[in-house]
């Protein structure tokens, strides 16, 4: 492969002076034309679409004038069967307003980053079909969490709660060079609890968590359940785990409203898990009384 194309050295001084200016003007012109083309294309797509979807999207940016006051923006996007809320948001961002901000990555319901409040309920946008929703589709950030910008919320508190239950396997005695044994039943017991993707939908839907900032919340308690119920962790750790869960802002705060279970995109029976841990706490206290 050859070297870079370099500008010819024979250019006159006048040319080198005027050229950057001219080039800039040309490129700006081309850019404007391209932007106009793209908008026209989007409009054509919209007009040609058999149907469209009307989105009302929450907007807020603390540092941009005109966006500091929260508002809703309307977007109309071309609709095709099978389209999800995330697809519509991406279309709106890529074709109408590149500043529209939201988290997303895997778009297959495993990364947990696009949990939002859609038509009044916590959902993962990537697995929510537009066809199942009433219009206009209202998209807001997860409630009860600080909004960073548009649909992005601050997840730090959620992560802190998750980490406060010591969410890691703590055994340190293992069979040499081979796996520990675990029954199918025990794996089945913890299976649902291990499916959590840390999306934060449950925490956001929980009235108790909204009123008590120290409440561990359904996701963190479920994480603790996952280790407490795992037979591979030694029995003497159970009490240690229960202590964390029994604290003032632990399992007893749950008022079994089932909202977490209802919104969980991975169908984890969160409320049930919390109740099981309450029973374990009672049983363990009975031992000492």
């Amino acid at each position: 492969m050859s070297t870079q194309v370099s500008e010819t050295e024979a250019e006159t001084e006048a040319e080198t002076e005027s050229k950057p200016h001219q080039e800039r003007r040309m490129s700006e012109k081309a850019a404007r034309r391209e932007a106009a083309d793209r908008e026209r294309l989007a409009r054509e797509q919209l007009e040609a679409a058999e149907s469209t979807v009307h989105l009302k999207v929450f907007r807020y940016d603390p540092e941009v004038e005109g966006k500091q006051e929260p508002r809703f923006d309307d977007f109309h996007v071309p609709y095709e069967k099978g389209m999800t809320v995330l697809d519509a948001l991406m279309f709106a961002r890529d074709h109408y307003d590149s500043s529209l901000t939201f988290r997303h990555s895997c778009r297959q319901a495993v990364c947990g980053s696009d949990a939002m409040f859609v038509n009044g309920s916590q959902r993962l946008c990537c697995k929510t079909q537009l066809g199942d929703l009433q219009e206009p589709v209202r998209v807001e950030p997860l409630p009860h969490q600080d909004v960073v910008k548009d649909l992005v919320v601050d997840m730090q508190h959620f992560y802190d709660q998750m980490e406060s239950v010591e969410p890691y396997f703590q055994s340190d005695e293992f069979p040499e060079g081979e796996e520990q044994r675990q029954t199918r039943e025990n794996r089945e017991k913890i299976k649902m609890s291990t499916r959590c993707i840390w999306c934060g939908a449950c925490m956001s839907s929980c009235n108790i968590a909204a009123g008590d900032n120290e409440y561990l919340g359904p996701a963190a308690i479920n994480k603790a359940y996952r280790f407490y119920m795992d037979d591979r962790e030694e029995a003497d750790l159970e009490e240690h785990r229960l202590r964390i869960l029994e604290q003032e802002h632990g399992v007893w705060r749950c008022q079994t409203q089932f909202s977490c279970t209802e919104v969980c995109p991975k169908d984890i029976p969160l409320t049930e898990h919390i109740q099981e841990l309450k029973r374990e706490a009672v049983k363990s206290n009975l031992k000492f009384w």
Partner: protein, 610 residues
Amino acid sequence: MHEHDVIVVGGGGAGLRAAIAASEEGADTAIVTKLHPVRSHTGAAEGGINAALREGDSWEMHAYDTMKGSDYLGDAPAIETLAKDAPEEVINLEHWGMPFSREDDGRVSQRPFGGLSFPRTTYAGAETGHHLLHTMYEQAVKHGIQVYDEWFVSELAVTDHEDPSDRQCHGVVAYDVKTGEIEGFKANKGVILATGGPGQVFEHTTNAVANTGDGYAMAYRAGVPLEDMEFVQFHPTTLPSTGVLISEGVRGEGGILYNAEGERFMFEHGYANNEGELASRDVVSRAELTEVNEGRGINDEYVHLDMRHLGEDRILDRLENILHLAEDFEGVDGLVEPMPVKPGQHYEMGGIETDENGETCIEGLYAAGECACVSVHGSNRLGGNALPELIVFGKRAGHHAAGKDMKEAEITTGYSEDAESGKVDTPVEPGAVTTTSDDVAADGGAVADPTGVVEQTVEEERERVERLLEKEEGLQHAAIREDLQDSMTQNVNVFRNEEGLKQALRDIREARERYQDVYVDDPSRTFNTDLIHTIETRNIIDLAEAITLGALARNEFRGAHWRQEYQERRDDEWLKHTLLRWNDGDPELFYKPVILEGENKTYEPKVRSY
């Protein structure tokens, strides 16, 4: 400026394993990642982890299958290291509490996968990656490893020696997505790139939106060669509408592929008379597309994958996640109807050239996981070999960077005097558009002082980002990215020919030229995803070009690289790795021979039949 011994870029499987290993060696370790670690794409892996755990199996068999699967383009020292280290690492994961699927006797389950001579794919339902990612993140929390989440690493701080092999990496520059701050991260012992795959180079991909190949592009521009980039794996079973992956586990458990005429085409049309659906991925992908191209596809687009006969109990026990994916993303109930599937971009077999210890030719710079090429996958990766690669080579890179005494690597890296230089006839000039590219390593001679190198790179990044944000008019990245992805999917797909590859190069050149005019419309410093995607788009352009140049140059048919004009594997000329180095903006092609000599034997290339 932040300062740590070891800085790991990326918080997925390879990054977490590297960080845990470095931390275990006593290094002060930090992970800098543009997502939160649990959002990483490792979580989307479904099928399982290959490791010879059982009687009747052996690391030698695993190594042989991998070499055969690679179509003899893997390096024996890398493949044997993978096969030897994998069992211990899988047991290790189990000891960390990973919820593997179990047999009646309580041991971890294994199942058959394509191209394997023994059912050695260990798994956790059809969500193995999710469990692996979370289990390792839990251990990172246990070790107290500092995580800078939502910090986007945009450049490496590397000295500016003329020869890349003399350069040193002293850290990275990262952009705090939440606040817009650009800061330096100084690494006293090493930087490990574990940034995952580049799937977003293509339009139809199983990869996450975040998989924009940032690590490859940064290493490439810093002077590290990219190896074997033309070998892009297309997975035979992805959902047509979204590219969502349907695990090979479905075929491993006995799932069957049918064409529109209800024929089990893998057998009936003779694509793989012995292995059928369990032939390796390149073979099955081509078979499916051939069916579609010959008019036997469904809706002229896809084929059917049927698992109904496996029965509800077995499906729920081992493939439950597949039912959810088919239902949520295609509206199909896998228990009562077959699932539509077609090939989609899935994995980049090539990557940042490293040795068995994860080290690149730049001192202090490592790479592991999908972004690296050791190389274990050669021209075709076997299903179930990506996850062991993450943990085996992530760990080794972590150990080496932390200063652990390790056996010297057998694989050599970097451009050497005996490298065979390559030539390719390109229709347009590849590489940087302007010679005054700011993509070179730190310039200005701050060679001796590591802090100076980091500070200077930070300054350059600040200026670059400032320019993007202050420009008031221009092109937006989304249009450039979309056109590039379309061209790559059309021209550099499962089936390739010279004209298509040349067209792709023209389109890539156009993307480069348009990118000169790119600007960021969103003026905000807070969570500016417009800016992030703009920076990522530059990385995608560089990678698209590396893939296409390698593909155009390799005029043979090997593994995943099918060429219309060349329908044979040509071992006499092509048992060699393609390497491409940036050379300060001018891509330079060269080759190095494949290493077929293993510990106890030499692998003899044979015809691959399944």
